[in-house]
């Protein structure tokens, strides 16, 4: 067994000693367990966390009071049961738990978390922000499906996109049952399972190729004042099921609609099941308010010869945490992950990814880039790639690059390969860097001044990730979004000089 341990943090530190505050140096032993229960007490002795139980109860109450009299569809009931069961033994994570070592969630914990009731979303019917929609789309406001803002006419026969509670096909219901919560995540995953009012189902039948991309737009409208302790929570949940040979492209977008810094908590989960030879392209754009907490799970299960291409751009949230878990459950499977995180304010962007190979000839390419452009900004990347015994001839590549534009801006990077199979090709690289001198000079040598050159290079930093989004219109939108965020950040930086 070969365990390639993360490039030691002290090595990374040497790139820019003054700019990254990386807590501990020195070598720690290789990690092979997925979740390390912080071990003063043995695992079996973990007791119920009263805080978690209270929150779970609040969520459960809100579900019963808001839902109609009819009992929930069986898969939803099952989800709720499993989730509340696991909450009984899941404490609120602390910095002592490895997955949260660099991510402080106490801001959420210390807030007065209030489930958003469906009634407060009625006023949105008149929203015009959504007029620009070109794709078939579904709009979810504060966790609730908003029919009046959705438009699904162009979908082919046999495709189902909508709420589980309104799913009439027994065939699809059966399949949903099989996969809903087939995976176990962390506390936030389970809180979502208890608090989700419904499940949005996207079902693509065998061999069906959905031509136009499906736009899932999650709007956060309810929010509290910056100074209030109240934190309204929504728990959207999506299950994407693509049968053998099916194809779909999904654009998943989270936004607050008005660019304020209101506080709310979106705690979202998406499960994706990709059948044999099926293809899913998934773009995820997160531009929540700078006062928000945004916790998101993406769990993907890929059967043989399937292809999953994921592109993420996250710029919003005071605290944004994305857990991506991809499991290859058949041979010859292709996974591509390209992600870009931007912190222009006092905010934390966190990506925890895990890719598990269990079958021969798996292929993966992962690229993670982040820019921290604020002295209180922070970025975290933990990229785990696990190549198990039967996954011979796996070809896995991972690359991460971080750009720190302010003194004291922080990034914690932990590329992490665990390889058990012996015939594999794995590569990884991590760099925390400033802009390339040679590139800057090339601009200057052609008469372009240093600040213009710096800007051009900073904007180009995310280009590779943005170019991996299949829809040109989304690419353009993201480009201008990033430009709008970076422009003022860079301007204030120049003033200080």
């Amino acid at each position: 067994m070969v365990t390639i341990h993360p490039m030691s943090i002290s090595t990374l530190n040497s790139y820019r000693p003054k700019l990254c505050t990386l807590p501990r140096s020195g070598n720690r032993p290789p990690r092979t367990t997925r979740y390390k229960v912080f071990a003063k007490t043995p695992t079996f002795a973990v007791l119920s966390d009263p805080h978690v139980l209270r929150l779970a109860e609040t969520l459960e109450d809100s579900i019963t009071s808001s839902s109609s009299s009819a009992s929930p569809p069986p898969p939803l009931q099952k989800l709720r049961d499993i989730s509340s069961q696991s909450l009984l033994s899941t404490p609120w994570p602390t910095r002592k738990d490895e997955p949260f070592r660099f991510t402080d969630t106490s801001f959420i914990k210390n807030s007065d978390i209030q489930p958003i009731p469906p009634s407060s979303t009625q006023s949105v019917a008149s929203l015009s922000v959504l007029a620009d929609n070109l794709f078939p789309s579904l709009t979810i406001v504060d966790g609730y499906l908003a029919d009046s803002l959705s438009q699904l006419s162009e979908l082919p026969d046999g495709v189902f996109v909508g709420a589980l509670s309104r799913l009439s096909s027994e065939n699809i219901m059966e399949k949903v049952s099989k996969y809903v919560s087939s995976f176990q995540g962390d506390l936030f995953w389970s809180l979502n399972g208890v608090g989700a009012p419904d499940v949005i189902v996207v079902y693509v039948p065998e061999g069906c190729k959905v031509e136009s991309p499906l736009h899932l737009r999650f709007l956060s409208l309810d929010g509290s004042d910056k100074d209030s302790k109240t934190l309204p929570i929504s728990n959207p949940r999506v299950l994407v099921l693509v049968e053998k040979g099916g194809e779909i492209s999904i654009v998943e977008e989270y936004t607050d609609g008005d660019g304020s810094d209101r506080c709310y908590w979106t705690n979202s989960v998406m499960e994706v099941v990709i059948g044999d030879g099926a293809k899913v392209s998934h773009s995820y754009i997160q531009t929540q308010s700078l006062g928000a907490a945004h916790v998101k799970w993406t769990s993907v299960r890929q059967e043989s010869t399937s292809v999953y291409k994921f592109a993420e751009v996250s710029t919003g949230g005071k605290l944004s945490r994305h857990n991506v878990h991809v499991q290859q459950v058949g041979p010859d499977t292709v996974t591509e992950l390209s992600t870009f995180h931007l912190s222009v304010g006092d905010q934390l962007q966190d990506l925890h990814s895990k890719l598990v190979f269990d079958h021969p000839r798996g292929f993966s390419r992962q690229l993670h880039k982040c820019i921290v452009a604020h002295s209180l900004g922070q970025a975290v990347f933990d990229g785990n790639v696990q190549v198990n015994r039967d996954a011979q001839q796996t070809d896995a590549g991972q690359l991460t690059r971080s750009l720190l534009l302010e003194p004291r801006a922080t990034v914690n990077v932990k590329p992490n390969l665990q390889i058990i199979a012996d015939d594999v090709k794995c590569s990884h690289g991590a760099a925390i860097s400033d802009l390339e001198e040679n590139q800057l000079f090339y601009f200057q040598a052609r008469g372009i001044d240093l600040e213009v050159a710096r800007r051009a290079l900073i904007f180009s930093f995310a280009a590779e990730v943005i170019e991996s989004i299949p829809e040109t219109s989304v690419q353009k939108k993201v480009q201008s979004l990033i430009k709008d965020l970076l422009d003022p950040a860079l301007a204030s930086r120049e003033e200080k000089k």
Binding site: Y442, F443, A445, R446, G447, I448, A462
Partner: protein, 281 residues
Amino acid sequence: MALFTPSFSCRIPTSTSPQRHRFLLSHRTFAPRATLAVETPSSSTADHGGAPKLLLEVKDLTAIIAESKQPILKGVNLTVHEGEVHAVMGKNGSGKSTFAKVLVGHPDYEITGGSVTYKGQDLLEMEPEERAVAGLFMSFQSPVEIPGVSNIDFLNMAYNAQRRKLGLPELGPIEFYGYVAPKLEIVNMKVDFLNRNVNEGFSGGEKKRNEILQLAVLGAELAILDEIDSGLDVDALRDVAKAVNGLLTPKNSENGRIVKTGDISIAEILEKEGYKAISGI
């Protein structure tokens, strides 16, 4: 390893010089290889009587590598007048590229002595970008790749920097496209060349063509072409040579001057016998 120690300054008066110079020729030292023939403009300012204007004067220039403090240039002298074509030669690693990069202000090197005057100004006091907009152009031996920045955006930025300096309105992307598209012919490239990222994934020949395209778009009063001919196949070499010659003629650019740097070990000959050793070609 004082390489530019022998000061050599070659002035080629148009009236008496042959129409074609092959600089990199020698009976013993040089393996036969393709070389860039540079034609001296048949008419230039030098023809209109009066001494040609002094363009660049390098005196006793010494430079070290900024990081390691290792000396590279140990007293270089070079004088270039308008209308002249120079070849700077020396074996691999002798410091030709360093000399070129020092002239355009590369931050890897520190000047430790000597002076450089360009058009009457102290060149060493100028920022790299000021040198560029003042008409000093260097084509890089190995141009860097810039992912995420398209060739046309890059050229547009550079062109606008120059326009700003001249007090002219900047060109928007569409106007600029109109200006740049015809220039592609000069380097025999297709339009999609403009949409690719700067030098990213370019072949050796494409990189060199791209350097010449930049020269064609931006123009120059003094162009330093660092190994513009090396690593090119016959076709690319022909295209690049043609492009450079085209840029040299007064019709395409008002003043063409080429300082050619090669990688041939002639420094020793120069050291022993001075410029006369090669001037009889």
